[in-house]
């Protein structure tokens, strides 16, 4: 065995991996578990950010918002667009993404029992469905169909004590001076997003135009696939004339963006801690495995293999076994996050936490995220643990004396 080539050492190592099947399976299982845990953890972290983004894009704001620059600074109807022609021309130049005009204004809602201030959203009932999920989340009644109607978040309706078919008075003072309308409540939204359920007020855009005196819209809500909001906003901004601008949802969520980004930074030490635990599990499994085989190594040394080759053989054995475990972990991990990214299995589970979940701006839907980066993160975990594990057996093999090893109990 003296002077065995690297190829021979590798072949021996590979044979040893399958000669000690139980040990290999155990090590592979530990590595696979560490890989799955790492992949799932980072997929959840990114999924949380995307779920917040999705909830705000589809329920609270819009994927991309086009408005006058002054309106973003002061979202009052007086800073709205009296006509939307220029904005619509820019949308056409940018590939005609689906859009809906909106007119947002502050007003007062009055029922026979109490009054409450709110931000009201005048919408085009048909176009709105192309950019928002609210029209599809009517718990009772129906979505808007004509002027003279109003749809409320179900909790707001409970507070005001108004029911379907009853009249609600909407008042405001904007460009047209003080104006009021009595609108019939035709639907109650049950979106499971607190901003919508607690404060949502949707009326026909023609009623909003009458109440505020603005002939156009305060902004256009533009649809974009999840994760492509920034790209579309940039493309639109290039087409828009001076005074108009486009912003992606992430730029409009305010402190929520800071919270989510801070949360992701906080998750980094937790992720590293997870990797450390995984590395410890793999290392301890490898160390026990090497200790158990001391007599076997003594025999190998007695047969003529030098200490350096023995060290390399052990290192390669560990590398092969961890590679098998890592590949298995990738298969299981990506299978798991593919399923949880396409099926809402986690949302109902998180909903058990109650109001906290919806107050964080999340819906009852929660999907993990798929990214090839997670394979890299899990590989780092495996490499760190393998390096730690390789160091001990390699060092031990270099110092091992054949006679002492053969006497090992």
């Amino acid at each position: 065995m003296k002077g065995a080539t690297a190829m021979t050492t590798a072949r021996l190592a590979w044979r040893n991996v399958w000669r000690h099947r139980q040990r290999t399976y155990l090590l592979a299982a530990v590595v696979a578990y560490a890989s799955v845990a790492t992949i799932f953890y980072w997929s959840m972290i990114d999924g949380y950010k995307l779920s917040v983004l999705e909830a705000h894009a589809r329920y609270v704001l819009a994927p991309v918002t086009v408005a006058r620059t002054a309106w973003f600074a002061d979202p009052d109807p007086e800073n709205g667009m009296s006509d939307t022609d220029q904005a619509l021309a820019a949308l056409t130049s940018a590939g005609s993404p689906p859009y809906a005009p909106r007119l947002r204004f502050a007003g007062l809602l009055t029922s026979p029992y109490l009054s409450e201030t709110a931000f009201l959203r005048g919408v085009d009932p048909v176009a709105e469905a192309a950019v928002s999920r609210v029209p599809a989340r009517i718990g009772k009644g129906r979505w808007l169909a004509a002027p003279g109607e109003v749809v409320l978040g179900y909790k707001l309706a409970e507070r005001l004590d108004v029911r379907l078919g009853e009249r609600l008075v909407v008042s405001t003072a904007a460009l047209a001076g003080p104006r009021s309308l009595g609108l019939e409540v035709v639907g109650l939204v049950h979106a499971r997003v607190s901003t919508v359920d607690d404060f949502g007020v949707y009326l026909h855009i023609d009623d909003a135009r009458y109440l505020t005196g603005l002939t156009g819209a305060t902004h256009l809500a533009v649809n974009a696939p999840l994760g492509h909001e920034q790209t579309l906003a940039r493309r639109l901004a290039k087409e828009l004339p001076a005074g108009l601008t486009a912003k992606p949802v992430w730029d409009l969520v305010g402190p929520i963006k800071t919270d989510v980004e801070a949360g992701k930074k906080l998750s980094l030490p937790i992720g590293l801690l997870l990797a450390l635990f995984a590395a410890l599990a793999v290392t301890s499994t490898l160390i026990v495995s090497v200790l158990e085989r001391t007599r076997e190594f003594g025999v190998i040394l007695a047969l003529g293999m030098d200490n350096a080759s023995l060290g390399w053989m052990i290192v390669l054995e560990a590398a092969f076994a961890t590679a098998v475990g890592w590949l298995l972990g990738l298969l299981l991990g990506y299978g798991l996050i593919y399923y949880t990214s396409t099926h809402n299995v986690l949302g109902p589970f998180f909903q058990l936490s109650g109001e906290v979940w919806s107050e964080a701006g999340l819906t009852e839907e929660f999907y993990t995220h798929l990214s090839p980066l997670y394979a890299f993160y899990s590989l780092i975990t495996v490499i760190v643990s393998a390096l730690a594990a390789f160091f001990f057996p390699a060092l031990r093999a270099r110092r091992l004396q054949a006679a002492a090893a053969l006497r090992w109990e």
């Binding site: 007062l108 009055t110 026979p112 029992y113 009054s115 029911r163 008075v169 008042s171 405001t172 009021s180």
Partner: protein
């Protein structure tokens, strides 16, 4: 605008404030103006006895009023309101105004001098509204300025 005596300041009253409680009482600013009944409702005579007419007022379409209906009891002889009852949209009475005093300041022209507003949702809650002094005649526009409201207006 209206003078808020507790603060000693004139506060701008938003249009929505018409339904707010006047100085924390059971009276709303809309009750004081008394114009809502003419503008927002369609009257229908429902019942009558020897001395009174009962009018049922239903809101016009899209009228900015939260009430389901209002009943108005009118004295036949002088055609003066005696009682106004406000109902929610489920037919429950929510508030009533009982008018008990009038002053005839010109032949056939009357001013309400005593009324009581009862909150029917809160037993025992009521606000009595009395006019102790009054003068009839044109009021100079200057009396409606912010400073005149704060300092008072003599004319």
């Amino acid at each position: 605008m209206g003078l808020q005596p507790r603060l000693g300041r004139v506060l701008r009253l938003p249009p929505s404030g018409r339904n707010s409680r006047f100085l924390g009482s059971d009276v709303s600013y809309a009750d004081l103006s008394g114009r809502d009944l003419e503008d927002y409702y369609q009257p229908q005579a429902r019942d009558a006895d020897e001395n009174t007419i009962l009018l049922e007022l239903t809101p016009k379409p899209r009228a900015p009023t939260p009430w389901g209906k209002v009943t108005l009891t009118v004295e036949k002889k002088r055609v003066l309101p005696q009682k106004i009852v406000y109902y929610d949209q489920r037919g429950n009475p929510v508030k009533e105004v009982v008018i008990s005093g009038f002053a005839e300041y010109a032949p056939g022209r009357y001013l309400i001098t005593a009324s009581e507003v009862r909150d029917l949702l809160n037993q025992g809650w009521r606000t009595r509204f009395e006019v102790s002094d009054w003068k009839v005649g044109p009021v100079p526009d200057g009396c409606f300025s912010q400073s005149a409201l704060e300092r008072g207006c003599r004319y």
